[in-house]
Symmetry: C2
Subunit: 286 residues, 2 copies
């Protein structure tokens, strides 16, 4: 094998992130995108879709903790949860740790991602056969249009708004999301980087604002995405993400986390001024 | 010129950060290190010491806001401030915005960094001739050993603990820092990345704990450093970084910031669990 094998993720034409690769474990081309899993030096196994880093074993807990536990603890008693995307299984894994959750439905468009992660990244995929999980290989856009179910929390764990994920950033999709959320439902969505992709954040938040009474942005630090300061949007029919949240709820759950904690839950909604300014009028963060 | 010029910062043997370069503005070799300033595409002008990215015009406000305004607002009335390192001038620039500050002394070991930034990065170096600034080209280690002055806040704006900055991570240095801090003094130091350099954080915090009654770590997201989640240590003789801080103090200052704000001040001390666990017994963050 090539002893000097690297994967490089380019951002626009001015930034590159290079990761040392020990071994290519899987390379495929699905109907939707290219799917690669490599064993890296320094970051464990890594999933790439269309050449963009999605997940690494080293830091996936940060992303999966923050996309799931923030809405699941902001809601007082989430029972029925929908995950759209998240084919690696890490988000569903974290959702299923909550004892209040009776059912988690996961709708992933690309079976190749799911199958490859089942085989090569069990760290994230290990609960894809959980008894409370309904795994649907299909289009999340179609699912929210046609389902009669009501969900307490919907998590849109999408890739960037290119390729198959593009409709997941549109207004029609979020009107359907609103429709299938319970009266006190919350939707959290992968929200890009404030450093490099504020235009996408603005566009997504404009859509959320047309549909939801209140929208917020919260941030965390992602090790392997360009920009580091990564975000999730939080749109809500009723519950305030921090005022209606209590540390006691986290304590009472008995759950432990490698990234998330109650102080960080609230802290993640405190945004730098350049983010607040860039998203002025689009977020209800105080 | 080379139309495909890139600078690559390697981290260990498994990570590379590549930045597109439009033009090399300055390249020199001082007594201490190599010093390069380049015009990048996407990040403005960039200073590198020994090939490591120190400052870019695009994101320097994040680092300089957080290294300076956190201690300066945690202290009720900082009058005499010492900056060790910080040759680009950005930290002194932010310190000098505080009207309570009567005097700021900056001790930078490498005149080449100062001179090059004066010429090519006025964005950070613009206040190096400020009437309240005493700029000393010399060894910060020697300065704190020999000075009779007492400082309210000391900011150690150092590079990584290699080359000229190595003594700035040692116990002898911090004993001298303690000695020349006022009775309610605070020292904040560049504290590396929790993702990639927790060993350095542990080592630095062990030193701080032998000298100071209380030590803390606070974090922010740095765009151009490997690891993103970057930290500063906060060691204090008296003032608690968040309990003794008030948002009113920030409001009353009349200052505006692109990164820092009162909510972020407190939020930056809320650390992910893996950081709290790795630094257990070494930090007094709650």
């Amino acid at each position: 094998m090539n002893s000097n094998l690297w994967i490089e993720e380019k951002f626009e034409d001015f930034l590159g992130l290079k990761f040392k690769v020990e071994k290519v474990l899987f390379s495929g081309q699905s109907e939707f995108q290219s799917v690669d899993i490599v064993e890296t030096k320094g970051h464990g196994k890594m999933l790439l879709n269309d050449g963009l880093v999605m997940v690494t074993e080293r830091d996936e807990f940060a992303y999966h903790d923050m996309i799931s536990h923030v809405p699941l603890f902001a809601h007082p008693s989430p029972k029925n949860v929908l995950v759209i995307g998240g084919g690696d299984g890490g988000t569903a894994r974290e959702v299923l740790r909550h004892s209040s959750v009776d059912k988690c439905t996961m709708v992933e468009i690309d079976s190749m991602v799911v199958d490859a992660c089942r085989e090569f990244i069990p760290q994230t995929a290990k609960d894809l056969d959980h008894e409370k999980l309904t795994l649907i290989i299909g289009d999340g856009v179609e699912f929210v249009k046609s389902t009669d179910e009501k969900f307490d929390v919907i998590i849109v764990d999408s890739t960037d708004p290119i390729g198959p994920a593009q409709p997941l950033f549109g207004e029609e999709f979020y009107q359907d999301v609103y429709k299938c959320l319970s009266d006190d439902g919350i939707v959290v969505s992968q929200g890009e980087s404030s450093w490099y992709a504020m235009d996408i954040q603005q566009s997504l938040l404009k859509v959320l604002n047309t549909v939801f009474p209140k929208s917020y942005l919260y941030s965390f630090s992602n090790l392997t995405y360009p920009g580091g300061l990564w975000s999730f949007t939080f749109a809500t029919k009723k519950h305030h993400p921090t005022n209606d949240f209590s540390a006691e709820r986290v304590e009472a759950s008995g759950l432990t986390f490698d990234y998330y904690n109650a102080a960080l839950h609230s802290a993640s909604f405190a945004l730098p001024n350049f983010v607040k300014k860039g998203l002025e009028g689009l977020i209800d963060n105080d």
